[in-house]
């Protein structure tokens, strides 16, 4: 047994008979020589934040773009968004830069700049056709994530927000092991209120504990929906087990806030617009601003420095 990168991997007594024995035994051993390069490249990035959720479709990418836009609302802050969802990249479309491609120079790959202080990197920019499927197994995905961290010319950044795919597998393990040396502020966990989602999110928090990632807090998305006709509030994704608030208590992590379901958020994402700029007075926007300020506080910054109160 033991960790796959240890010298004993695949050779221990407990490994006999395991169908993966060969895989573990033949994998490369020892520390990854690229990690110091990644650490050097990211030395100029002050804060690195992961956005995680065990469940798909709860709003990880939406929240990532919101966080990016909110941080970038301060003209002095430089912000980068990295999309590690290789098979289902959503960030470029949400940021309205789907048709862009990346430029390669002698010093590395240049991210795609959405505005002066907000850059984006995603596998989508490298596809010849927009709808191409990326049919890759783990090692190939890991290789690309490593390149994103090692070869992208971010320059001086105040914040790097890393969006992840659902699950607890290759991408998550890689991002964490590659960033460990460079220092990670922590992870924001996104969920929807119903138990089917919380079930997977519990696993993600368990993963963070095992991997030594600090959980900055949990956000409940799609929490309640106000009918535009009768203003009756429905719990579309009903929190039968107490929702994220209860889960936060149970697992002793900060609860960052609840964001209501607003169809205009989805529309803004489809059109690649910033929901913050388009609907600044909506309740969802106010809730999101509160969450962003709480994220700042959890990172040890002053909330006003991160995002001014509206």
């Amino acid at each position: 047994m033991g960790r796959p990168e240890s010298q004993q991997a695949g050779k221990g007594d407990a490994c006999a008979g395991c169908p993966n024995q060969q895989i573990c035994a033949s994998a490369p051993k020892g520390p990854d020589p690229d990690i110091p390069l990644i650490t050097a490249r990211l030395a100029s990035v002050k804060h690195k934040i992961l956005v995680l959720s065990g469940k798909g479709g709860v709003g990880k990418s939406t929240f990532t773009t919101m966080l990016g836009h909110a941080f970038a609302a301060n003209p002095d802050a430089q912000v980068g968004i990295m999309d590690t969802d290789i098979c289902g990249p959503s960030i470029p479309k949400m940021m309205g830069v789907e048709a862009e491609t990346i430029h390669v120079s002698s010093s590395g790959w240049s991210p795609v700049w959405v505005s002066e202080n907000l850059g984006v990197m995603s596998v989508q920019f490298m596809l010849p056709n927009r709808d191409d499927a990326v049919i890759w197994r783990g090692p190939k995905k890991n290789g690309l994530i490593k390149q994103f961290l090692k070869d992208v010319e971010w320059g001086d950044l105040d914040y790097l927000v890393v969006d992840t795919p659902p699950g607890t597998s290759d991408e998550h393990l890689s991002v964490n092991s590659f960033l460990k040396e460079a220092g990670l502020d922590g992870a924001v966990v996104v969920t929807t209120p119903q138990e089917v989602s919380l079930l997977d999110v519990r696993k993600e928090i368990d993963f963070c504990r095992k991997a030594g990632i600090r959980v900055l807090g949990i956000v409940e998305n799609m929490s309640g929906f106000v009918c535009p006709k009768c203003t009756h509030e429905s719990q579309i994704f009903k929190a039968t087990t107490g929702g994220a608030r209860r889960l936060a208590q149970e697992m002793n992590i900060p609860f960052l806030g609840a964001v209501p379901l607003d169809p205009r958020i989805g529309m803004s994402c489809d059109y690649g617009e910033s929901f913050f700029d388009s609907f600044p007075d909506s309740p969802a926007c106010k809730a999101l601003r509160g969450v962003v300020r709480r994220v700042g506080e959890e990172m040890g910054l002053s909330a006003d420095e991160v995002l001014e109160e509206a």
Partner: protein, 317 residues
Amino acid sequence: MSLANVKEIMLVLSGKGGVGKSSVTTQLALALSLQGHSVGVLDIDLTGPSIPRFFGIESSKVRQAPGGWLPVPVHEARTISDNASGAQNGVFTGERQLGSLHCMSLGFLLGDRGDAVVWRGPKKTAMVRQFLSDVHWGSLDYLLIDTPPGTSDEHISLVETLLKSARPGQVSGAVIVTTPQAISISDVKKEINFCRKTGVNILGVVENMAGFVCPSCAECTNVFSKGGGEIMAKEFNVPFLGSVPIDPMFVSLVEEGRTPVYPQGTVVAGKDMTTDEVAAENTADAVRDSGLLAEKYQSCSLFPLFDGFAAKLTLKV
């Protein structure tokens, strides 16, 4: 091998997460079973298995048998009262032959439901293969395979193994699930291209979460916009099975085991789903928490939709 006596295998796929793959799988399985077919559900979402929760069998464990695992039963084949039309007029019109329903998921193998399965690709591949070769399904009319989002290890291993070991024509194809908004559609298009590349036939597209009917005023709001699924199906020239609205009653059925009850004037897919007083009394608290999931599902507004999908799929198959 364990799939030898399975007549047809259908995959449920989507590039995007959280669009309702497991929910669609569950409802297709229930609808097929209510039509009298014997059904198996295999959940290959290893890091986020939802199938055990959907069928309300989270605490069940897999039993070992010589040479493999026995799937977990949801119900065995039997005769139940037909209350699909009963929900409409309060009169139970007859009986219905229910086919057996069994599930297999990694969720049944975990010690604690909160445990994370942190596996890289090779280990996931080994597990998917084992699920396909070592589960004693017995004889089945349909095996539905629920998948995780994406086009990576699990999907490649699944299709590879099926190509190698399934009989020609045994894998009838894939049902693609999407939600209506553009963000989801763009990921799902990738999944369709995955099917094209790997030679998996596409049985049809289901547009899930198309509209939400307010339980207080019965107004339908398109929470995640509308129509995207149908447009995509046309663009790729694949069959469109239909749109499924969000039904909070289905969520309560899954999460709390409540028989769905609808307010006056609820119309879903052109069908009036209002629960009248007699039927409402019949589904009073005493009845609410007893009975099979499949029996209760007959009162759900989504049942007629999935009944139709299942009928279309069985015809195609």
